[in-house]
Symmetry: C2
Subunit: 211 residues, 2 copies
């Protein structure tokens, strides 16, 4: 059977992602993260009565995906409806917001790294089978996903901090970008909507790591 | 009659604003601009039946003020209610939005300088006496207000571009900041909510001009 157009695109992307860092390891593609929710296995069961998420769309990082499941999140001042869940399940439930979102909801959530929820703000998360309150609301600190080979090419290790330069009418340089390294990861800088809009960047723009 | 607390504060601020650039002319205070509306004299009449705005609150730039009057603005996808008007009247009606606001409203507005409305997007503006459609929606290009003495101390002129550095966990450097010079102006960099949140800056934070 011939491969589908989508399969060809997937293969082309995979090849590109492997080759790009060999050409210029400082060049990283931008992934813009809108507000989204990760759920623990237990909370997925409570909110949806499911053992695992259903796939809506793959994202750039292998194994990660946008789920069909969506939730409503409620803060003291406002709510957001139909916030996308991301699969697979995580150890801890986490609601990733922008600072603009926090202001709208009336929450004071910390700017922190994924999974570091000691200071996370309480938030109500509503699914079709119930509502839970969790210390889960945070603003993701900007970070770059890298595979180990790519990180080594840049002389970088997990948790290192770098600066990243962006061109364009709203160009600039962002400090304190956290390097995250895992074997499966492809190079990508994750910014939230505030950061992307402030720098005039869309999905698929490129930045340059300043080591 | 003794001066009021507010009068003392105003005088202290005025003295500070005059002295600060003498100490370090590269240091500029941040003014964060939420979405707001300037109206022409004619449009103020149409929407409110008034000849001039009523003062709600002075802002840092002498002569400029937040008005009591507020409007609703309507885009193809959504509306914002109670958007603050800024006085006094301008030659042209102008609706200043963030890129996040544009996305919410469903508008494609240009990033441009105040008053440069050739490419501005059409938007409906509703006041108590009616609704008008104007090519008025824009995203304000980041800029610095300076008085002539201060500009001269930095070797800068109106329309020059500089970069501005900000410290902190979300620190960074913004390119393409437009220098604006008028006799009455005090030093201040104007950022929109996207930019302020992306850099982790609040009202009254400081940046450093990199000439």
């Amino acid at each position: 059977m011939d491969p589908t157009v989508d399969q060809v695109a997937d293969i082309a992307l995979a090849v590109y992602e492997k080759l790009a860092p060999l050409l210029d390891p400082t060049r990283v593609v931008v992934g813009v993260s809108n507000r989204h929710v990760h759920l623990s296995q237990e909370d997925l069961g409570i909110l949806f009565g499911l053992d695992e998420f259903d796939l809506f769309r793959q994202v750039r990082q292998p194994g990660e995906f946008a789920a069909i499941q969506r939730v409503n999140v409620h803060g003291p001042k406002a709510s957001f409806r139909d916030v996308r869940c991301m699969g697979p399940c995580r150890a801890k439930t986490q609601v990733e917001l922008s600072l603009t979102d926090c202001h709208t909801l009336g929450l004071a959530a910390p700017i922190t790294q994924s999974g570091h929820l000691d200071q996370a703000a309480m938030i109500d998360i509503e699914g079709p089978m119930g509502t839970i309150s969790r210390p889960a609301a945070m603003v993701a600190a900007r970070h770059i996903h890298l595979g180990p080979t790519h990180a080594a090419a840049l002389g970088l290790s997990d948790q290192d901090l770098v600066r990243v330069r962006f061109d364009g009418i709203r160009g600039g340089l962002l400090d304190h970008v956290i390097i995250r390294v895992k074997p499966a990861w492809v190079p990508e800088i994750h910014l939230d909507i505030d950061e992307a809009n402030a720098l005039g960047l869309g999905q698929g723009a490129f930045g340059q790591v300043v080591v």
